[in-house]
């Protein structure tokens, strides 16, 4: 196996040497040839991956067609939600080149956390931060998409009124946008840029009171 240097990974920059050593010993490094899957959509998720080298792509079946949603590189942590949530994998993670990933299982993570290992506490915070960012991004995107749809609907309505009342309303197609946000929600630390490909306008007034309370 190729040499891996955890110290060089940005997502682990705050870890002490002892913590990195512990991580390397509890999360075995696994090799994936190009095209191999780290995990499959729909399968039970019981571990998360820290990409040490290489590159993976995230795929999801949308309307019975597999779509590529994102590319993640060394340092990315994929599938963290599996450590705290028992839902099945929301997408397939595939090595797009030779990749080495550390696999941390829920069982090991829980054991370390119950012993209040500093490594587990740090990892737990990281999971929380990833989830928070995902939530912030997703609610913002969703608000934007819905807002835009409403705006377009109003425009279309005005247009119809001007022309002919019998004209059928044009359906608004934001399915792909919505599905992308939905896919990004689940557990993959998709980058902001990737979500930004989903075009939106400024969000306003689409968020409920509870959501608002929680988002601060």
């Amino acid at each position: 196996m190729a040499q891996i240097n955890l110290r060089a990974l940005e997502s682990l920059a705050d870890y002490s040497n002892a913590e990195l050593k512990l991580l390397a010993s509890v999360a075995p490094a696994r090799e994936y040839e190009e095209g191999a899957n780290l995990c499959d959509e729909g399968a039970p998720g019981q571990s998360c991956f820290v990409l040490a080298t290489g590159e993976v792509t995230i795929h999801k079946v949308i309307d019975s067609e597999e779509k590529e949603l994102a590319t993640l590189r060394a340092g990315a942590i994929v599938g963290q939600m599996s450590l705290v949530d028992r839902s099945p994998r929301s997408a397939t993670v595939r090595a797009s080149k030779y990749t080495i990933a550390l696999e941390l299982t829920r069982e090991v993570f829980e054991r370390l956390l119950n012993a209040y290992s500093p490594l587990a506490l740090r990892f737990q915070s990281q999971i929380a931060v990833a989830g928070i960012r995902q939530l912030r991004m997703a609610t913002q995107k969703l608000a934007g998409i819905l807002n835009e749809a409403r705006h377009r609907e109003e425009l279309a309505k005005k247009k119809r009124e001007r022309r002919s009342k019998s004209m059928a309303p044009e359906p608004i197609d934001n399915r792909d946008q919505l599905l992308t946000v939905q896919a990004a929600l689940s557990e993959w630390d998709m980058s902001l840029e990737e979500l930004d490909d989903v075009h939106v306008s400024i969000p306003r007034g689409q968020i409920g009171a509870d959501e608002m309370k929680g988002r601060m």
């Binding site: 209040y116 737990q124 929380a128 928070i132 997703a138 689940s186 968020i207 309370k213 929680g214």
Partner: protein
């Protein structure tokens, strides 16, 4: 040898009562529900007690914040300003409620302003405070972070459901899928029955 005077005793009892009231208040908050006395004490040690007057701003929309607030007395108003600068109250926060739990883990611009609707007392936990707690009382820190994760996971699921609803307002697609699946199953079963029948007749 020191002899405790009755007056001190009374003061001690009073302060002990106050302590227990604070513990009970903390345990009334889901995030701190399982905290024992020691965990409560260590948590209190890293939080700053604060007081504001009615009308004062606690969080300002757009300003970066890294604190969570446990409201111990009073009412807070959550206000959102739109892009024209017009503010609307979107929620109120009462005694014993927590606000800003995500910011304490990941500092970000506040998405709303929080304004004291009455005179308020609250406890503030900063990111640094939480980091101190990770060392001084790992169990308390793990419980807080765990509660935030549970909350975030729940809300992520809600957003997901909301999108499902948007994609399929009447559940029509889901119903169609279910109907198709039932039909497929029936077909598969009847096929099985048919082939069994064929076998029986030696074909």
């Amino acid at each position: 040898m020191l002899v405790e005077r009755p007056a001190d005793e009374a003061a001690n009892t009073r302060s002990m009562n106050a302590e227990h009231q604070t513990y009970a208040m903390l345990r009334g908050i889901r995030m701190f529900a399982d905290f024992d006395d020691d965990e409560c004490n260590r948590l209190l040690a890293v939080m700053q007690p604060r007081q504001v007057g009615s009308g004062d701003t606690v969080f300002e929309q757009g300003a970066t914040g890294d604190t969570l607030v446990v409201l111990t007395d009073g009412i807070l108003r959550v206000e959102v300003a739109d892009h024209h600068g017009v503010s609307a109250t979107v929620a109120t926060i009462g005694t014993g409620e927590v606000v800003g739990e995500m910011a304490v883990l990941d500092a970000a611009p506040r998405s709303a302003s929080v304004i004291a609707a009455t005179d308020c007392q609250f406890l503030e936990l900063s990111r640094t405070g939480l980091e101190q707690l990770r060392t001084s009382c790992p169990s308390a820190s793990a419980a807080i972070v765990g509660a935030v994760i549970a909350n975030v996971t729940k809300r992520l699921r809600n957003v997901n459901k909301r999108i499902d609803k948007e994609l399929d307002p009447d559940g029509a697609m889901r119903k169609r899928r279910e109907k198709q699946a039932a039909a497929d199953k029936k077909e598969a079963e009847s096929e099985g029955f048919f082939s069994r029948l064929m076998k029986r007749f030696g074909r």
